[in-house]
Symmetry: C2
DNA sequence: AGTTTTGAACTGACTGGTCAGTGCAAAACC
DNA sequence: GGTTTTGCACTGACCAGTCAGTTCAAAACT
């Protein structure tokens, strides 16, 4: 039982890996099940033995992605707490965790972005969950920061959270696509500066 | 040709409008030519009389989008120059122009985002052009701001530019999708605050 | 021990439907 | 009178999903 489900598990993993790259590159509809099967080194029938349909395969792939992201953010939060860091530090740590995640799973990220604002899709609710989880963590940290007087009371929590989310997302994707030679540290430093108001902030000497 | 093309122009416009919404909702491959024709209130043959293929229709649609965005940003830049605003003001004006654009053409934006980081697509170069134009304007303003000592010398121009771009993009799309009741002013104010370092920076007097 | 049975996992040829693109004569337009 | 649009039938490629058949390791049996 256990040994045979291990085999199945391995097959599903191969299919996920094949699907994520192909769909990130070509989109859901232009990726064929035959392609996925071929890339995974498996017969087409196996895809349908393991997943009810192409759509279900994709939905489960997205779900699987949530686990990874959640784990990633959770780890970052825990580690910052252990260090006894401030709330701004926590935001910074989350930026870094986000960058880490995106550089580890670029295809997955790319695929989320491509689908995230589409309407009328079967998997829309799944996607909203992902976004909601990420945004909620940021919002919580912003709220805590305001409560601790580390951050201005005037900020609009939800809008700021989604702006920060977007900042990391787009900067990271651009980094991967157009300046892959830059180090993660460079990108992180640039975003940190922006986050901490050292770009358009109080530098001006009048 | 040009003189007698009024009717044709109108048909093409209708097709663009039909295509942009459908493709934003469903993606390129799952949108059929029949659907586009029907939504535009036009016969299928007309689509092929006006465009060589479905792909060409889409590419020309993207090109058309560039014109709109460029005009939008240009206007914002010109108006800020007329007012004699600072470079930070210019960035702020561009944020606003970006938000205006996105709220005027949400489908177009959505569609760009969905395709922007995909690799191996026929229209990738077209998309890179759009991105490049938008980013270049931001970068130029950042550089000018640094030169005028309005902005810190330490900032990483390309990374900061793409982070700002992403900030506006994602905040605007989230606004449209999840909080459409908010006013453009709210969104603009939140982004301004972030841009001017009044979120995580030293808390300035309001 | 060796032999047989079982069943989960996998295979790949096949089917039925969908859709981009064609062809063209007639109508509508300007 | 040239340009543009219409309507519709048609083709051929492509593709999601099916299903009868194969594989093989472990269990059951002798």
């Amino acid at each position: 039982m256990d040994s045979s489900s291990t085999r199945r598990q391995a097959t599903r993993q191969k299919l996920f890996e094949a699907a994520v790259t192909l769909i990130a590159e070509q989109g859901f509809s232009s990726t064929t099940v035959d392609e996925i099967a071929e890339r995974a080194g498996v017969a087409k029938g196996t895809v349908y033995y393991n997943f009810a349909s192409k759509t279900v395969l994709f939905e489960e792939l997205l779900q699987h992605g949530i686990e990874l992201l959640t784990a990633s953010l959770q780890t970052a939060a825990d580690e910052n707490a252990e260090r006894g860091g401030s709330h701004v530090d926590a935001l910074d740590a989350m930026v870094r965790a986000g960058l880490d995640f995106i550089s580890r799973y670029p295809s997955l990220t790319q695929l989320y972005v491509a689908e995230l604002w589409r309407t009328n899709r079967a998997w829309q609710s799944t996607l909203m969950m992902v976004r909601q989880r990420a945004i909620a963590v940021i919002e919580a940290e912003l709220r805590a920061g305001v409560a601790a007087h580390e951050l201005s009371e005037d900020i609009d929590i939800p809008l700021t959270a989604s702006a920060l989310f977007g900042m990391v997302l787009v900067a990271a994707l651009d980094w991967q696509s157009y300046q892959p030679e830059r180090s993660l540290e460079d990108v992180h430093a640039a975003l940190s500066r922006l986050l901490q108001g050292r770009v358009g902030g109080t530098v001006a000497s009048g």
